[in-house]
């Protein structure tokens, strides 16, 4: 019951008036970010990160994580009312959410979405509360080889689980690692791939990459789709909320299934987007009236929203305990921790218990605050979406440029943002996944140093990765994940021979 004591202590850290204020502020900013095209959880937090440098660390992380919850909530509003997914993980929500809104049941759809999000996040936080300390304790025994094996597993899982072609996943991942290697090598002091450009000395900052890839890239994609906001207006009355809650109880099976899918996909770096699609598919397969899906079935809103939030929240578990983020947004939060001088990983739980448990407590509180805020403020957000893109678009570009500049006060970064933006657009169009690129850029240095340390320990022999059952198990699992995409082809081949 040590966890409960720690958690109670965490509540006492998080439940101060300024921190509650930061929570409401974070949730509100987050919903705004989630609602606006071109601003998402990852780049929204990346843009706001420099503003938190002067804040108290615990308050800052509370605000930033609340922005994350807010963005998760916000994505549902645009999907249901406007059929425009504000975030990739709310694409599956449009399938049934928008038809419901067209039938005049927008209130019910939104209530279902917000409540399911809350449920998904709540169970994921429970998982973090009780599992994270155990994982952290276990990970304390990890040496360099084990750390590298975990990182290897993370990246191989991308290849095995992503829906994009495996060669493209591998290529962007290697591109991310290569960009992380640019600049001065911290061990030997050698300059790598700088070619005499002083701007390249410090390497590529992943915050700039995130703002460009996700922000500018998304703006270009939005332009391509040609925005015509023809949304449904929405008000949520109390009796509709209560009615919907009663209806939701019937879908407990779908909820549990979606929570499980979401938590699994969040902890392993599958991410919220595939989780939402998987949960939607499972719900439809398990339903009695399959035909009603896609035409406005509340269950079709419950499943993806629950899974997306469970995944988005549980992505913080490996981030906190191992220093390996489960999603791009978690990666940005990790970057924030590093900038504040906090090294995420098993030691964080021992050295900064106030910070860790304050953050975990704020996840409970933030989600409750978030649910209340979204349920009461939906009409305003719907109104914001009626502002034409000819205003929103350039304003978001200005915000992205400011965000990119403030990271290092460097004009070069603003130019790089544009370059990343163009590549973000191209990569999206050609089905190159962006998440592995960002994670490789964030984790590149860490992966390299754990690899080098392992090599030093073993005097250059790769056998260290098979030296004990734990590291051997992790490595074998990595290779299974890496080779997973070959399995269908192999099956096909074998069947062809019979």
């Amino acid at each position: 019951m040590e966890e409960l004591n720690n958690l109670l202590h965490g509540f006492s850290v998080a439940l101060t008036l300024p921190n509650l204020g930061f929570m409401v502020l974070g949730i509100t900013l987050g919903i705004l970010i989630g609602v606006l095209p071109g601003l998402g959880g990852a780049n929204g937090i990346a843009i706001l990160l420099p503003l938190t440098f002067s804040m108290d660390q615990t308050s800052a992380i509370i605000m930033l994580s609340c922005i994350y919850w807010g963005a998760l909530f916000g994505g549902a509003i645009t999907s249901i009312l406007f059929n425009i997914p504000g975030e990739p993980w709310s694409v599956a929500t449009t399938f049934d959410g928008f038809p419901l809104a067209q039938q005049g049941r927008a209130g019910a759809a939104l209530t279902a979405a917000f409540t399911s999000s809350f449920v998904g996040a709540f169970f994921a936080v429970l998982l973090i509360t009780f599992l994270a300390p155990l994982v952290a304790k276990f990970a304390l025994k990890f040496g360099a080889a084990e750390m590298f094996a975990v990182q290897m597993l993370t990246f191989c899982s991308f290849v095995g689980m992503s829906k994009e072609p495996p060669a493209k996943t591998l290529a962007v991942m290697a591109l991310g690692f290569a960009m992380a290697a640019v600049g001065m090598d911290t061990v030997t002091g050698t300059l790598r791939m700088t070619y005499g450009f002083p701007e390249l000395l410090k390497g590529f900052d992943f915050l700039i990459a995130v703002i460009g890839l996700f922000g500018i890239g998304e703006i270009l994609l939005t332009m391509e789709e040609g925005l015509a906001f023809k949304g449904k207006s929405a008000k949520i009355q109390l009796n509709i909320v209560l009615q919907t809650w009663k209806e939701l109880l019937r879908y407990w099976r779908t909820s549990i299934r979606s929570v499980l899918v979401g938590c699994w996909m969040g902890v392993t770096p599958g991410g919220a987007t595939p989780a939402s699609f998987m949960a939607y598919g499972l719900a439809r397969r398990g339903a009695k009236d399959k035909d009603s899906f896609g035409k406005g079935n509340v269950e079709g809103v419950v499943a993806p929203e629950t899974a997306a939030h469970a995944a988005g929240t549980s992505a913080l578990l490996p981030m906190l305990t191992l220093g390996i983020p489960g999603s791009p947004t978690a990666a940005v939060l990790l970057g924030g921790l590093l900038i504040w001088g906090l090294q995420p990983g098993p030691l964080l739980f021992q050295e900064k218990p106030d910070f860790v448990w304050g953050l975990i407590a704020s996840m409970y509180l933030g989600n409750i605050v978030g649910l209340i805020v979204v349920l009461t403020t939906v009409p305003w957000w719907a109104a914001i979406l009626r502002i034409p893109f000819s205003v929103i678009g350039p304003v978001i570009i200005v915000i992205c440029a400011i965000g990119a500049y403030t990271v290092h006060s460097s004009i070069f970064d603003v130019i790089m943002m544009l370059v990343f933006g163009v590549f973000g657009y191209l990569f999206k169009k050609l089905r190159y996944p962006l998440a592995p690129l960002v994670l490789a850029l964030v984790l590149g240095d860490m992966a390299e140093s754990s690899f080098r340390q392992s090599m030093l320990l073993s005097q250059g022999s790769l056998s260290i990765f098979w030296a004990n059952p734990l590291v051997a198990g992790l490595m074998s699992l990595s290779f299974v994940m890496l080779l997973w995409p070959i399995v269908p082809a192999l099956k096909h081949y074998l069947r062809g021979r019979d």
Partner: protein, 169 residues
């Protein structure tokens, strides 16, 4: 009416974008591998792995995977391809990309505030067909709000150009 619909469907196929991006990745792979070889990919006696040790393998992975994508794309080159985007869609993308690029160049020389004012005013006037008052209020208001928020409250200076210098800011 029919003609414009046809025009909406015609567009750029995936063929060349796919090949060009693969070639770009391949080129990056060549840079990574060659630079790693320059700084040494081996084992320094008494020191451990050299600086190019890890990036070398990364570059190899990049070469193999992008080569694989390129071969796949070349093998399909004469077959029908999915559409990258229609010409109409590409035109709208360019309507954003061109002003955006000019904006970034302008930020370098004119600073952020003036460039942002011009960018927002341009979009509102040309694409949004807003009236003069609304356009001026928004395009002046946003940079002004950014100025108050960053320079005054958070004390984060943003890039400024000759015009701000003239105003003595």
């Amino acid at each position: 009416m029919e003609r414009s619909e046809d025009a909406a469907e015609a567009g750029l196929s995936n063929r060349w974008p796919e090949i060009l991006v693969a070639l770009f990745l391949l080129a990056v792979g060549v840079i990574v591998v060659s630079d790693s070889m320059r700084i040494g990919t081996g084992w320094e006696e008494g020191e451990g792995p050299q600086a190019g040790y890890f990036p070398f393998y990364i570059g190899c992975i990049l070469l193999v995977s992008s080569g694989w994508i390129l071969i796949g794309a070349l093998a399909r080159i004469s077959k029908p391809q999915p559409q990258f985007a229609s010409w109409v869609e590409l035109k709208s993308v360019m309507q954003m990309l061109v002003p955006l690029s000019i904006y970034i160049v302008a930020v370098v020389y004119l600073g952020l505030y003036v460039s942002s004012f011009v960018l927002i005013a341009y979009f509102m006037k040309v694409h949004g067909k807003f009236g003069v008052i609304g356009t001026v209020l928004t395009s002046v208001g946003v940079p002004l709000a950014a100025f108050m928020l960053f320079e005054r409250w958070f004390l984060v200076p943003l890039p400024k150009g000759p015009i701000e210098q003239m105003l003595g800011l």
